[in-house]
Point group: C2
Chain length 311, copies 2
């Protein structure tokens, strides 16, 4: 890989471009955002994507590129802004690379972040490069708060529970990738769903006005709904949730349970929203159940599981 | 180590406490800062401390604690705010741990960040935990911009070059630590200088009003001064710089060149400030040379070197 300072110059070129509200970007000790973009309050979150935990080098060339890996790392971090109803403003990303990672890979990773920056409207304004034994991409996202940010602790008994997009399909894409069939026609869309998660920023902003509670689904529906219920002191009843015919067919082929993935698969980056019964969120989401006074989640066919880094 | 959710609860307790301007801290999808704290503009930077690159487990018990390692990781990141003349407001920190790292170590690391949060006035408002093969602590710092943030590209020929504190002494502390004599009386102060870098926030804020350019010294005087000169299109002449008698004595004992460490040793986290000749910064710094029209740094006794992660 190039020396550190050549490398920074290359990255500055990839991340170049004027962005509203960025007074000073990459290249000085710190970046500066204009005051007015954060006048409504800053929303901040940080997330890491680490080799062999969040992605594998063996995926590259199997239907996934380094650019996808980077896009997904950024999108995962940005999803937390969606869950607060915030508008993304900027990203800083710190990268750790082993010595055997070449300039071409680093450029591809930069381009993946640039893709996400463009889709989400969040320019990369700072970063850091360090050596390590494994690849690590740690991203901090900064957004502007909505007038009223929906937290995870506001759900009320009687609320309708809404979800954006199709839950469990990212986990199915991951299973296809791990099975080595990522490029086959019936798998490619699911793999794409895994490596290029949808942006739910617009849905989050729209829901912020009326949501009682909101959370993004990164560790599986049952686990993240569980966090929301625990924080709010409520429970939930799920409607009968069914995978699509395509998802069910791929799951059978892979020998996995599509319904279990729907309930506990990770990496969806969809939003769970609770709102009073009269509120219509059908433009951005679909109803999947109801918030109940009794603690616990009923209506699931599988046990509440999900990813625990330290379990 | 505890499960992820128990762990987060433990960390929330360590990082608890009301802080001015923090509307929502650890525990939701993202943290929220009040709009008004950033009304002058947000200053942001990110930095990583990685095992065997920035610190070693073998140091622990040799005069250094995990709490020190964490403090240093936070202080290194916060130093970039000092170099912009910014006032720290908050930190987010993402941690990667191998399986063999116990709860006691994680708590100590949390306490070190808490120490730095208290010294710098920058509460930890968010974070992330992930598995990895080595320990990695990645910290993003957020500050409020001064009315005029001194960048590295503003130095002018004829400016006086000022430095805060004693350069090279952190590198001497590191050398003592690596030589296994960290706890000996003539070494302890230097090791402490390395693991608990000074806060130069106040100096940075004071200098911001009159500085033409400013940078923090993390990779060695010659290297960071070189960045400042390159960005400004100028050169510099250094006065004869001399280590203290104590530094010189320890350096001789360790078989290293105190003068070389002064010029090229890393980890100082002091500030270099350039200002017009009439400006008196003697309350916060001491003059070490002058900015020249001719490119290049003259007056150094050693070659321009410093740490390059990818060299």
């Amino acid at each position: 890989m190039s020396g550190e300072f050549d490398r920074v110059a290359r990255l500055r070129a990839i991340f170049a471009g004027a962005h509203r509200g960025v007074i000073l970007g990459i290249g000085d000790d710190a970046a500066i955002l204009a005051g007015d973009v954060l006048a409504t309050g800053a929303v901040l979150s940080t997330d890491a994507a680490i080799e062999d935990v969040h992605f594998r080098r063996a995926w590259i060339g199997q239907g996934v590129t380094w650019r996808d890996v980077a896009y997904r790392a950024a999108a995962a971090a940005l999803s937390d802004l969606a869950a607060m109803g915030a508008e993304p403003r900027a990203m800083l990303t710190s990268w750790a690379f082993p010595r055997d990672v070449g300039d071409d890979v680093v450029d591809e990773i930069a381009r993946g972040f640039r893709d996400a920056a463009d889709v989400y409207g969040a320019p990369v304004i700072g970063g850091n490069l360090a050596r390590a034994r494994e690849i690590g991409l740690t991203t901090t996202v900064i957004g502007a708060a909505p007038a009223r940010a929906p937290r995870r602790d506001g759900a009320q008994a009687g609320d309708v529970l809404w979800a954006t997009g199709a839950l469990g399909e990212a986990a199915l894409g991951l299973a296809a990738l791990e099975a080595g069939i990522a490029r086959e026609p019936d798998a490619a869309a699911f793999v794409s769903r895994f490596v290029r998660p949808p942006s739910r920023i617009d849905a989050g902003r729209a829901a912020a006005q009326s949501a009682h509670a909101m959370i993004d689904v990164s560790d599986g529906l049952l686990q993240d709904l569980g966090h929301l219920c625990d924080a709010s002191g409520v429970g939930a009843r799920l409607d009968a949730l069914a995978p699509t015919r395509e998802a069910d067919a791929l799951a059978r082929r892979l020998g996995v349970d599509a319904r279990a993935l729907l309930e506990s698969g990770g990496d969806d980056y969809e939003l769970l929203i609770t709102a009073a019964p009269g509120v219509d969120l059908s433009r951005i989401a679909h109803p999947i159940g109801e918030i109940t006074r009794e603690p616990g989640i009923v209506g699931a066919t599988t046990a509440r599981t999900g990813f625990d880094h330290f379990g």
